[in-house]
Amino acid sequence: MKSKEIAQILNFQVISSPNGDVDIKYGIVCDLLSFVMAHALEDSIWLTIQTHLNTIAVAVLTGIRSIVFVSGQKPNEETIKKAIEEKINLYVTEKSAFEIAGELYKLGIRGEEKRL
């Protein structure tokens, strides 16, 4: 499903959508960056409360296409700017990671742990 469709269905606040048409295949929920680095799959959507700049680097390096900042966390200007530059979609939601993960699962998005 396209990232922008997910955002619309789940009522995310859209912060940046430079690559809204990208097809999202997997999801990951985690706030530990090393864990995300090791386990995220290409074409994923990532639910996290980490909003700092380094999340964008993690997304670029893993092939995560979209980040949802959950529980009302908001990214700063630097993070948004970098996300646009690197074509990463950013969304904000008031709901918790647990809630959103459940909704994504209903939409057919699956989690998968990458085995190294």
Partner: protein, 287 residues
């Protein structure tokens, strides 16, 4: 099989050179040249002056240098090979092959007495001539001709704003080169974790990546506190990162174990009070 010298002497450069070439001026930016190379599937673009005379050659290696410095917007004048060696259209293939062997370049422009570029002769053109087959799909057959490709980035301790840029750039360069995604993935994890360890735990350092057709070697070297017990540091979950760093999602104690998982070979050298050197190798030719 040995092909007699006479065969090569009987073939003229102008008969087999590629004449479907694109020329640029010194003001063309590197980004557009990169696109030209990708679309036309060529690995060298001659640079000519206002009179149409050759003054340089932009090669894939030059594009990679610009890319590695994040400098694709610069005019090609800055990166091109100046006064490149070239062939005469009347030269025979034997002369050309000697030039290839001498300089180990992948291609030479073919230039007439007036300094005008008539074509380019690449090793690809020669192979196609020898095989007498039609050109179909030709990928960038680069990488092996020259010295290893070296990427090098400074990394500053405590600089969380730039953190991740070095490893992201490495990933992009490898993608440009057509390195296999599963390999890129491993390099991305190793470079990211090594870069972050310098940012989090050390004062300053460099991240270096050496690439040859056989191996990718990643070296992260820093000036910093060093690691007193490397075995302990390698344990999953072990971390000395302070709380404020952990709150940002770093310091899970997974960095070194992640690096180990992704490496074919890993060596860590450290002197307490001086610094740490992480050397990771990935072999590309093992099937």
């Amino acid at each position: 099989m040995r092909i007699p010298k006479e065969f090569f002497e009987g073939v003229k450069v102008k008969e087999i050179m590629n004449t479907d070439i694109v020329m640029v001026t010194p003001y063309h930016d590197m980004k557009s040249i990169q696109e030209i190379m990708r679309i036309k599937r060529i690995d060298g673009v001659p640079v000519v002056n206002d009179l149409g005379k050759i003054i340089g050659l932009v090669t894939v290696e030059n594009v990679i240098s610009a890319l590695a410095s994040g400098d694709l917007k610069s005019p090609c004048e800055k990166y091109m090979v100046r006064n490149p060696k070239y062939l005469d259209p009347e030269d025979n293939l034997y002369t050309a092959l000697k030039l290839f062997r001498q300089y180990r370049f992948g291609r030479f422009p073919v230039v007439n007495n007036e300094g005008e570029v008539l074509g380019i002769l690449s090793t690809k053109d020669i192979v196609l001539k020898l095989l007498a087959i039609e050109e179909k799909e030709v990928k960038i057959e680069k990488k092996s001709e020259l010295e290893p490709l070296i990427l090098e980035y400074p990394v500053l301790g405590g600089d969380f704003v730039s953190a991740g840029i070095a490893s992201s750039t490495v990933k992009k360069v490898l993608q440009q080169l057509g390195v296999e995604p599963s390999i890129i993935r491993r390099v991305a994890i190793i470079t990211y974790e090594a870069e972050m360890n310098i940012v989090i735990h050390a004062y300053r350092g460099v991240l270096k990546v050496f690439l040859t057709p056989e191996i990718i070697e990643i070296i992260a070297e820093d000036e910093g506190p060093g690691i007193s017990d490397i075995e302990l540091a390698m344990q999953p979950g072990y971390s000395t990162a302070p709380d404020n760093i952990r709150e940002m999602g770093f310091g899970a104690g997974m960095g070194l174990p992640n690096i180990k998982n992704c490496s074919d070979e890993l060596r860590i050298e450290s002197i307490v009070g001086k610094g740490t050197k992480v050397i990771s190798k990935i072999y590309l030719d093992k099937k």
